[in-house]
Every structure is written in structure tokens, then in C-alpha cells.
């Protein structure tokens, strides 16, 4: 019976998804900054910190915004997982 099983750590998979989704946000900023340069307003992270309206600035803004939002959720996941079995 082919039941030899290999396991992958759940944490590794979750962190990979997190990194990939944040990278996609950065890519979106990079592409938009490249294509519509000149027509952009400088974005403000959390309405406070202004990023330059360049491809890299938008990429950093996108990545940081999503990393923060999803990071809060991930933090909650870690917090809850450590305290409750189910």
C-alpha cells in the first residue's frame, strides 16, 4: 500500500502564502508606477507617511500596506493558535 507519507509544516506554507501575496501587491505597485508615471499622486501609508510616486515608491507602499493588514491577521492566527487547541 503506497501509504508512505511526507509532511510539510503548516507554518512554512502559511508564511509562503503571506510572502507571495505581499509580493503580488509590490508587483502591482511596480507595474502601475511604471505604466502611469506622471499621472500619479503620492500615496500615503496609513494616511500618514508619504511615499514617492515612482515605481519603487508604489511597490513599497503596496507591499507595506498589505504586509501590515495581512500581518495583523497573521498575528491573530499565531496568538489564537498558541492559546486554543481547536
Amino acid at each position: 500500500m503506497g501509504k508512505t507519507q511526507t509532511f510539510t509544516g503548516g507554518r512554512r506554507v502559511v508564511l509562503t502564502i503571506y510572502v507571495v501575496v505581499v509580493a503580488i501587491a509590490a508587483l502591482t505597485g511596480l507595474i502601475l508606477g511604471t505604466f502611469v508615471e506622471g499621472n500619479l499622486l503620492a500615496p500615503k501609508f496609513l494616511g500618514l507617511i508619504e511615499f514617492p510616486a515612482t515605481p519603487l515608491g508604489l511597490a513599497a507602499y503596496g507591499a507595506l500596506t498589505l504586509a501590515t493588514v495581512l500581518g495583523v491577521l497573521l498575528g491573530l492566527v499565531i496568538y489564537v493558535s498558541d492559546r486554543y487547541a481547536e
Binding site: T4, I17, V21, L32
Partner: protein, 592 residues
């Protein structure tokens, strides 16, 4: 002419009587009539599936929920292929800005057919494929509460598809007098009311029929889950997939009859000079209210069951129970209720009252909360899990990551100012395709692979299944990420050609993104071809599963009712055959 038609009618009548006479002779119908042993409210139906006739007759006359599930699956797959081929043609046309492959009217027909086919002829029936097959097994029922209505609900679908697609076939036969409907799947008035093409009427009738089918199915599921549960299955331990099907059926019960009524009103406008949705005397906005009061719950009708599938399957390969089961059920119910309060977010740009817009924006943002609760619970289930990366698990993980992207882009669209900028651009198309293809279809694929040993008795080819996953994952993200960017750059939906002022929007970028999306669509198509090949060939000649627990679910105490049923069946067949065939190599996540 009249004599000819009369002769044709008589001929058809004689033919139908001959078919009926032949069918009545080939089998003794009553020998396997489902209610021959009594049956009724809360009791066993006495269904005698052991005496099924053989061959085609079995499939034409079956009332067994498992057979009907397989019929739904076959039907959904055929529709998926049709809808997929339609969109490949469209993507080829869009690979360059000019009109150079197909006529614009044909493009519009494909656009309409793709949307309606994928939503009503693929997604709804493919979910019914699993719910029909597995709900009775999961809740320990003998069959659906109304097996004959179950069969009727399915058999309404083939004529529905024929009517919806009729324009394509009748166009060459009638010299263009009847064409494929070109209304888009939303059938917005006044366009859909004013198009003289009878193909639109046929499509509306077909759509109506598919709605009747879905409603009959929904009633059946509600009654089945309420009254046919085994004594050991109560509301507290009802599985998550059954919960989502129950909620989905409730949504169908309220949403689809409304669509049916709106379709009848549109047909009356088109054919009997009523003025429900006309510009003079009626209101095109009324159509949008009615349509989206159905249309937005429809999104959740389609997405809740795949969410249930993932909630059900993911823990099996994470080696632990679903985290926060109760909250996943509550979030399902919350989404079901809220889904009826968000329809006007499709209409922010129509000029409706700003106070209405603000309230619908609030409810639309609120629906992100139960959706996030589900995602939270899936990820928490994964976090401390020991994952087995089988094909069903890969699709569950792909489902979650696509859902994050589709969900986040949706939250932005719920905000009125963002929506006003992005409305009717490819951003919207990218967002909902992340959900429809990246989420709904991924959940379905996970279910196809997970339950494959039960409904075929065989195992699929693991390597091909992983090829399928990676090609579909890459194709989905390439295609629909490209669409999100296209939308940001201002590319409108629904057009067969495009032209931009380079000073405002870089034309090269638009063309390049369309080509990327086309490339992604073809990668998707290759993945799907591999999928169909794998399913068909494995069904015919895959290794027979003689293990009652091919996924080793007993190790983590997650061997569900359907696998108990499968185990009993396997044991019976082994006793009957008194010998075994080759043993199956399970997709246990081992190295390739």
C-alpha cells in the same frame, strides 16, 4: 407550407410514441420504482437501487442520487468545456487591438454565452454534482427526500442549455435571422429589451428553465437535510459541507424565483409590449434592482459550497480538525443573510441616492468580516498542521491564496469612490474571476480529487493532478492579475477591440497585458485538458481502490460518513469477488 408543418408535427408525434413504446418494452419499470416500498415523510424511501437496468437506459431513468450526481458532473464538465472554448476565442481576438479574428457580433455572443454558461450551466450544476452524490451519504440518508424530483431537476438542464446556446446553432441555419444572444450575462435593459433577435428570447427561456431546475434541487436539499438525517447526525455534528449546501439552498429558494419573475417581465416587454423595463413608461434601473437582488446572492450561492468543500477537505490533509468549526458555520449563515443586503453595490454608478450608496457600501464592507472569519479559520487550521501536499490539498491552498487576492480586490470595489473609478473596467472582471475561477473552480477541483475513489472506485494519476494544479494556478494568476492591472489602466469591459490615446494610457502596455492574459488563458486550457484526460482515463483504467481509507483519515480520527459507506462497499465487493485486484497507490503526499 402549412401541410408540410402538419406532416412534420404528426411525424414527430409518431416518433415520440415509438420511443415511449420502445422504452416501456425494454424494462419493467415497476421492478425498480423508487417508492415501491412505501416511503414518505421521515421514513425510509424503500428505494431499490440494486435493480438498476443496464446501459443507457440506466442513465436516462435513474433516480439514484449517486447516478444523478454523476450526470450533473458530466453536464457541468461539458458546459465548462463550451464556456472555456468560447473564452479562448475571445482571448485570441483580444491579443491584438484591432478586430482581426472574429466578428464583433460573434464576440458579443461568445461573451454572453461564456458568462451564462459558466455561472448557470457549469458552476451551479457542478456543485449539485457533489451535493447530490455526497449529502445523502454524509447525513446517513438512503437517498434524497424526493428522488423523482431530483431526476426531473436534472433533466430540465439539457433543454436549458440547448435553448441558451440555440442562437449559435440556428444562426447558420436561418441565415442570421436567429443569432446568439448578445446581451451580456447581466441582460441589462434597455439593450436586452430592444434587441429584435429571437435568440435572446430562447436564451431567456433557457435561463428560466435552469432557474426552475435549481429551485427544485434546493427544495429537495432543504427537505433532505431537515428530514432524512440519520439519528446520529444532529445539527451540532452536521458536517460543514452539508451546512453550506443548506445555506446555499436557502439562498436559491429566495433568489432564483425572483430571477424567474424578472425574466418573465423582460420576455413580456420583448414580446407583448409591456413596459416594465423600457425607458418610456418603465425603468431600466428597475431591471438592475431586480437582477442584482438575485445576482449578488447568486455569487454566494456559487461560492459557499466550495467554501464548504475546502472547510471539509483541508483539515483531512492538515491532520487536525477544522479550527473554530462553529464560527465557520456562523460565518456561512451570516454571509447568507448579508448577501441579500448588498445588491446595490453593483449600481453605484447609476446615479442612485447617495444615502442608499453609503448604506450599501457599509453592508458590502461588512460582508468581508464573515469571509475573513473563514479565511482566518482555514489558516489557523493550517498553522499548526502537518500538511500532506496531495492534489486536493494543493487546490485547497490555491483556493485560499486566490481568495485572499479576490477578496482584497473586492473590498476596494465595495468603497463607492473606488468603484466609481474602476466600474465597468477589467479590474472588476479580474476581481470576480479570481473568485469564480481561482476560488469556486479550485474548491470543485479539490472535491473532484478528494472524492474520486468513492465515485469511480479508482484512483487518479497523481503526477497529472499536480501538473493540473500548477498549470491552472499559474494560468489563473497570469490571466486575472493581468486583468486587474488592465482595469487600473482604464481598459473597459465587454469590448472586442481597444484603442487608447498613448498620452493618457500607454497602448503598448494595454496590448502586452492582453497578450499576457491570453497566454494565461491558454496555460489554463492546457491544465484543464490534462484534468479531463486524467479524470476520463483514470475512471476507465485507474488502479482500483480496495482500501476503505485511501487517505489514511482514521489516523487523525477524520474518517467521515461517506468513507464509512465506501469502506462497507469495498468490503462487500471483496467478499463477493473473493479475490483482489492490484492495490492502489494513494496520493498520500509521498515524493514523486
Amino acid at each position: 407550407m402549412a401541410t408540410g408543418q402538419l406532416a412534420l408535427t404528426v411525424l414527430m408525434g409518431v416518433f415520440l410514441i415509438a420511443v415511449a413504446a420502445w422504452l416501456s418494452r425494454v424494462e419493467d419499470w415497476r421492478s425498480y420504482a423508487p417508492l415501491s416500498g412505501g416511503g414518505g415523510y421521515g421514513r425510509e424511501t424503500g428505494t431499490a437501487h440494486e435493480e438498476k437496468p443496464a446501459g443507457l437506459i440506466r442513465w436516462l431513468t435513474t433516480v439514484d442520487h449517486k447516478d444523478i450526481g454523476i450526470l450533473y458532473g458530466l453536464y457541468g464538465t461539458i458546459a465548462f468545456i463550451w464556456g472555456g472554448l468560447a473564452v479562448l476565442l475571445m482571448r485570441v481576438e483580444l491579443a491584438s487591438p484591432a478586430q482581426d479574428v472574429i466578428e464583433m457580433s460573434f464576440y458579443n455572443g461568445l461573451l454572453t454565452s461564456h458568462g451564462i454558461t459558466m455561472l448557470f450551466l457549469f458552476a451551479t450544476p457542478i456543485i449539485a454534482a457533489f451535493s447530490n452524490y455526497f449529502i445523502p451519504l454524509l447525513i446517513g440518508a438512503d437517498d434524497m427526500a424526493f428522488p423523482r424530483i431530483n431526476a426531473i431537476a436534472f433533466w430540465l438542464l439539457p433543454p436549458a442549455a440547448v435553448l441558451i446556446w440555440a442562437g449559435f446553432f440556428l444562426d447558420p441555419l436561418t441565415g442570421g435571422q436567429i443569432q446568439a444572444a448578445q446581451t451580456s450575462w447581466t441582460m441589462y435593459t434597455p439593450l436586452s429589451a430592444e434587441q429584435a433577435n429571437p435568440g435572446v428570447d430562447l436564451m431567456l427561456l433557457g435561463l428560466h428553465l435552469s432557474g426552475v431546475s435549481a429551485t427544485m434541487g434546493a427544495i429537495n436539499f432543504i427537505v433532505t437535510i431537515f428530514t432524512e438525517r440519520n439519528n446520529k447526525v444532529n445539527w451540532a455534528n452536521l458536517d460543514i459541507f452539508s451546512w453550506t449546501i443548506l445555506t446555499q439552498s436557502g439562498l436559491i429558494l429566495f433568489a432564483f424565483p425572483l430571477l424567474g419573475s424578472a425574466l418573465i417581465m423582460l420576455l413580456l416587454d420583448r414580446n407583448f409590449a409591456t413596459t416594465f423595463f423600457t425607458v418610456g413608461g418603465g425603468s431600466p434601473i428597475l431591471w438592475q434592482h431586480l437582477f442584482w437582488f438575485f445576482g449578488h446572492p447568486e455569487v454566494y450561492i456559487l461560492v459557499l459550497p466550495p467554501m464548504g468543500m475546502v472547510s471539509y477537505i483541508l483539515p483531512k490533509f492538515a491532520g487536525r480538525k477544522l479550527f473554530g468549526f462553529k464560527f465557520v458555520v456562523y460565518s456561512t449563515l451570516a454571509i447568507g443573510v448579508l448577501s441579500f443586503g448588498v445588491w446595490a453595490h453593483h449600481m453605484f454608478s447609476t446615479g442612485i441616492d447617495p444615502r442608499l450608496r453609503a448604506s450599501f457600501m457599509a453592508v458590502s464592507l461588512a460582508i468581508a468580516i464573515p469571509s475573513a472569519v473563514k479565511t482566518f479559520n482555514w489558516i489557523t487550521t493550517l498553522w499548526n498542521g502537518k500538511l500532506r501536499m496531495t492534489a486536493p490539498m494543493l487546490f485547497c491552498i490555491g483556493f485560499i491564496s486566490n481568495f485572499i487576492i479576490g477578496g482584497v480586490t473586492g473590498v476596494f470595489l465595495a468603497a463607492v469612490p473606488v468603484d466609481l473609478v474602476l466600474h465597468d473596467t477589467y479590474y472588476v472582471v479580474g476581481h470576480f474571476h479570481y473568485i469564480v475561477m481561482g476560488v469556486i473552480a479550485f474548491g470543485v477541483f479539490a472535491a473532484v480529487y478528494y472524492w474520486f475513489p468513492i465515485y469511480t472506485g479508482r484512483m487518479y494519476q497523481r503526477t497529472l493532478a499536480k501538473w493540473h494544479f500548477w498549470l491552472v494556478m499559474v494560468g489563473t494568476n497570469l490571466t486575472f492579475f493581468g486583468m486587474l492591472i488592465l482595469g487600473y489602466l482604464g481598459m473597459p469591459r465587454r469590448y472586442a477591440t481597444y484603442d487608447f490615446n498613448p498620452a493618457i494610457t500607454p497602448m503598448q502596455a494595454i496590448t502586452a497585458l492582453h497578450q499576457l492574459a491570453t497566454l494565461g488563458a491558454f496555460i489554463l486550457a492546457i491544465g484543464m485538458a490534462i484534468f479531463v484526460w486524467n479524470i476520463v482515463m483514470s475512471w476507465i483504467e485507474g488502479p482500483i481502490v480496495e482500501d476503505g481509507d485511501p487517505w489514511s483519515l482514521k489516523e487523525t480520527n477524520q474518517h467521515g460518513h461517506e468513507w464509512h459507506w465506501h469502506e462497507n462497499r469495498v468490503n462487500r465487493s471483496i467478499v463477493a469477488a473473493d479475490g483482489g485486484e492490484e492495490e492502489v497507490a494513494t496520493d498520500g503526499g509521498e515524493d514523486e
